[in-house]
Amino acid sequence: MNRWLRAALVAGAIAAVGCFVWSSWPPNSQYAPVEISFAVVGLSFMVAGIAAWQRWPASRLGLLFTIVGYLYLVPYILVNLANPVAWTIGNVTEGISGAALAHLGLAWPTGRLRSRLECGVVVADYVQNIAFNTAATMFWNPAFSGCNASCPANVLLISGGSRSAWNAFNTVEGFVGFLMTGIILTLIVRHWRSARGWSRRAMIPLLWIAAAVGAENILTGNLFHFSALVTYALLPLVLLAGPALFVISTVRARTAGGALGTAIVDLEPGASPGRLRDALARALGDSTLQLAFRRPDGSGYLDTSGQAVDVARPGPGRAVTPIADADGAVLIHDAGLEHEPQLVRLTAAAASMALEHSRLQAEVHAQLEQVRASRARIVEAGDAERRRLERDLHDGAQQRLVTLSLALGMARDRAAGADPELGSLIESASKEAREALTELRELARGIHPAVLTETGLSGAIQALAERSLVATTITAVPDGRFPAAIEATAYFVVSEALANVAKHAGADGAQVTIQRRPGRLVVEVSDDGAGGARPEGGSGLRGLADRVASVGGVLRLDSPPGGGTRLEADIPCP
């Protein structure tokens, strides 16, 4: 809001209240409650006016609040001025603030009247108010109230006035006012009924307040007669409901802003756009909120329920707010929200953050998935390479050495009789060949155990147990075949674990259990050794953990000092 405007409004408010106090000075103890009540109500509208102007600069609500405040106080200041013209004007405009209040209620929450009909109703209300007051004033002789020369003269007074005419006009005004109040309340209820989303929520406090003010209007009209204290001091306090309306809507917007934060915090990571929409709608209290995304081919928008949305024409009472950094995502919300630009910005920012979060998360997931897949491929390629190497050794070098051994055997047998020296030479060559074969066989087995490929886990684990350097018992190994990567991983876990037991554990025995559980294979190797093994204790265990992770499994080590060691690999298995 403009600095000067604000200064002027503040100065005006102070001046108005100052004038009011000054004009009614010295305070008359009998009227003091009435005057305090007036000052409080008038001032509260002025303050609400300044605040509303600040909060909704684009709306006329600030102006309307201010006008109500002035129209409330000024007539009484004028009446108190002891000037005939001022007194007369004050009397004529005495009830005009009620019409301004009706105007405010009908213009809620946008600050604008919705139709020509409503403009007419408001104008009629202002006019009837002034007209009846003018007419009544013409028949009111200030002398009726018991004052004589001390009273300011009534400049409109005709033919010495008539108490009965004055009464008659006041009674008619009371009826007309009753009627107008009914019309205005009906219109407000209609506004509420046709409103959706945010606007509907904004209408609810108005309904209660309009009912209260309407009741006040009727009670203080000229149809009922209460004591002066009730009519002029207590009932007007109901009008404080007007500024209260402002306070309620402000608190509500703040609450919605806070709720947005909570909604985003509570939103689970990677929540679907549908859930994001629900959370935003709940926080805003706007059930009509839509979150729409541009179709991938650019031909229009779809909301989170898959309905096509026309962003260019969102429909009556609807407004579109683009979401920054979200590649064509928009919010479609109740137009009433536009008067809370801060809230709209907050909503769009929250949506943007959540969408960005989801996008980043999806990206990280995709990357992680890629890395997982490539790691699995690398390990599988390594396994395949090992199998190929083992096969090459078997079909190549090993086979040739066997053939060589056979030839040497034949040669030795031939030479044995004729040339014993040559015979023993050939025999030692033959021995070398046998040893080479033994070494090559162990090498090939270390590269990849053929028995694993040929017979699967049970045969291969049996072979490991038979070769283990500590007494090893197999409690369970499932029969049947598993994917090669899983068999190889389980095999290497057992192989590495048994090697560790032999090397480090100082154990008397080890136990191997492999169990098939729903969706996974659990490999467990335990020993009765010294324990105290640490996962970071050797590259062997870390390499094994990597190997298990390559098939999506987890390696767990449980090795309390003095309590043996238990290594468990939990491997996902279709």
């Binding site: 086979q399 053939t403 056979l406 055997g409 047998d413 040929e454 072979a463 500590v470």
Partner: protein, 228 residues
């Protein structure tokens, strides 16, 4: 079929052998060695399919087969051996392997262990021992490679009755596991057959095994015990 008893050979038919091995050089080497050793090589095959056809047509006494053969280089030889035993139960089979695994061995022994041999391929270098093995399976004995057996016997164990066996009893046990008869064990360990029998009885009692009269049942019982 050419049964030509030599002048000094006893009048018994020559053993008819079929060889299945995919490496030509080794296959031909084997044929030569076995022929030189007085066996009748009735045919050779380069893969399992050929082998089965060959056995069907020539009905040999002994089949000698490599465990890994084309096309998959897996356990085709083993599968062919099982098939041969199923279709022609009297045929003796020796399976040759580059790496001896008890898994394969037990698959092979599961039916009837008589006339079954499972030996390391490199044993062909010792011609006399190898032909001896062929003659033994042809006679219905089992021949289990000493390397498998020694691995099983030497396995570390906890609280096992095996630890209570004497050195001699262990030696007897190993030879039983290789498929030797009491007679052969006696000859190899320079004992009298009577002593061998005593050892066998005592170690069976220690291990809690039921004494088995037939050698082939004994092989299976001992191997199963050792493999536990």
């Amino acid at each position: 079929m050419s049964v030509t008893p030599g002048p000094e050979a006893p009048a018994q038919p020559r053993l008819r052998v079929v060889i299945a091995e995919d490496t030509v050089l080794l296959r031909e080497g084997l044929r030569r060695v076995l022929t030189d050793a007085g066996l009748d090589v009735a045919g050779t095959a380069g893969d399992a399919g050929q082998l089965l056809k060959l056995v069907e047509t020539s009905r040999p006494d002994v089949v000698l087969t490599d465990i890994r053969m084309p096309p998959d280089q897996s356990t085709e030889g083993l599968q062919a051996a099982l098939e041969i035993r199923r279709r022609w139960p009297g045929t003796a089979v020796i399976v040759l392997s580059q790496h001896v695994e008890t898994e394969h061995l037990f698959e092979l022994l599961a039916g009837d262990p008589r006339g079954i041999g499972y030996v390391l391929k490199e044993r062909v270098a010792d011609v006399a021992q190898f032909t001896g093995a062929i003659r033994r399976v042809a006679a219905g004995e089992s021949v289990i490679d000493s390397q498998v057996v020694s691995r099983l016997v030497a396995r570390p164990r906890r609280d096992s009755p095996l630890e209570t066996l004497t050195e001699r009893e262990l030696a007897v046990l190993a030879l039983m596991a290789e498929g030797r008869s009491n007679h052969a064990i006696a000859a190899q360990l320079y004992m009298s057959p009577k002593t061998v029998e005593t050892h066998v009885g005592s170690l069976f009692a220690k291990l809690g095994l039921l004494p088995a009269a037939e050698d082939h049942r004994r092989v299976l019982a001992v191997l199963t015990y050792l493999r536990r």
